[in-house]
């Protein structure tokens, strides 16, 4: 059976005001959840940390769970090369998760309007991960800076897609140049 075509749950995108953090939908990224015993580190990345390897972003989102994000084929190649013991399991969750990226110098301030985490550089530096309620939706957050510019990935259940996109976009408009 052919792989089903991916359809994002964010159907209506809004224009980014000049100067405001840019919100983009990266839901088509391949997402694989890897679970192991608490304390194990099958991919060499600790809980609350993220690292990029062979183009794949490996995120330690829970004490016993890692989320792999990458392009088509990249995640599969990394998993094929990894040697896991029998206690490790993996599930492709590409179609069940939403992935948004918020980029810009004021993106931390925008996120702090809808999330109780401290996104300051000391508490949430590049390569940090966290899980918390974002606009009342349980979400995973990963800081993945692009060329030195702060950038955050946000992952949640896909059914919240349009709502979360609209809520975060609304939080960013305050930081536009024209206001």
């Amino acid at each position: 059976m052919a792989e089903p075509e991916f359809r994002s749950s964010v159907t209506t995108l809004a224009a980014t005001p000049a100067g405001a953090p840019a919100l983009t939908d990266e839901s088509p990224l391949t997402k694989v959840s890897v679970r192991a015993r608490v304390g194990a580190s099958p991919l060499g990345v600790d809980f609350t940390r993220a690292a990029r390897r062979d183009g794949v972003l490996i995120c330690g989102i829970r004490p016993d769970e890692w989320l792999l994000l990458g392009g088509e084929g990249e995640v599969e190649a990394l998993l094929a090369a990894a040697e896991f013991d029998a206690s490790v399991n993996r599930i492709d969750i590409t179609h069940s998760r939403l992935c948004l990226r918020l980029t810009g110098v004021r993106s931390a301030s925008a996120l702090e309007k809808v999330c109780s985490l401290d996104f300051g550089d000391m508490m949430f530096p590049d390569g940090a991960t966290g899980s918390a309620s974002v606009a009342k939706v349980s979400s995973d957050l990963v800081r993945d800076d692009i060329a030195g510019e702060p950038s955050y990935l946000l992952l949640a259940d896909r059914s919240f897609g349009q709502y979360l996109y609209d809520a975060i976009h609304d939080a960013t408009t305050e930081f536009a140049d024209s206001l």
């Binding site: 304390g39 809980f47 989102i61 004490p63 769970e65 966290g130 899980s131 309620s133």
Partner: protein, 100 residues
């Protein structure tokens, strides 16, 4: 707002947590009397002072943990370290067992 000290995530808003009630020892099913089961299932001690409670970090690490809270001042004592054996049965385990 309560700032609940999750052993994995650190201090978190209680809105990110789910309160699981008093932490009490489960009686032995093979020897417990109906009265002991009723007490275990339904009765709360509700002291005005330190109380050991179970919490579920529902928006964070998604794990159960036990912590002591003063019911008058809502002050928390330091939680047990992850993996320690001081938590009640069921604490520190995954509720869903799969998924994300």
């Amino acid at each position: 707002m309560l700032l609940v000290p999750c052993p994995h995530c650190g201090p978190r808003n209680s809105a990110d947590m789910s309160y699981q009630g008093e932490a009490s020892s489960r009686p032995d099913p093979s020897s417990a009397t109906p009265a002991q089961w009723r007490d275990y299932l339904y009765m709360e001690h509700n002291p005005a002072g330190w109380l050991k409670e179970n919490w579920y970090c529902s928006s964070g690490c998604r794990r159960f943990f036990s912590v002591e809270r003063h019911t008058v001042t809502s002050e928390f004592r330091e939680p047990p370290l992850p993996g320690s054996k001081t938590a009640e049965p069921g604490a520190g385990t995954d509720r869903q067992g799969g998924g994300s």
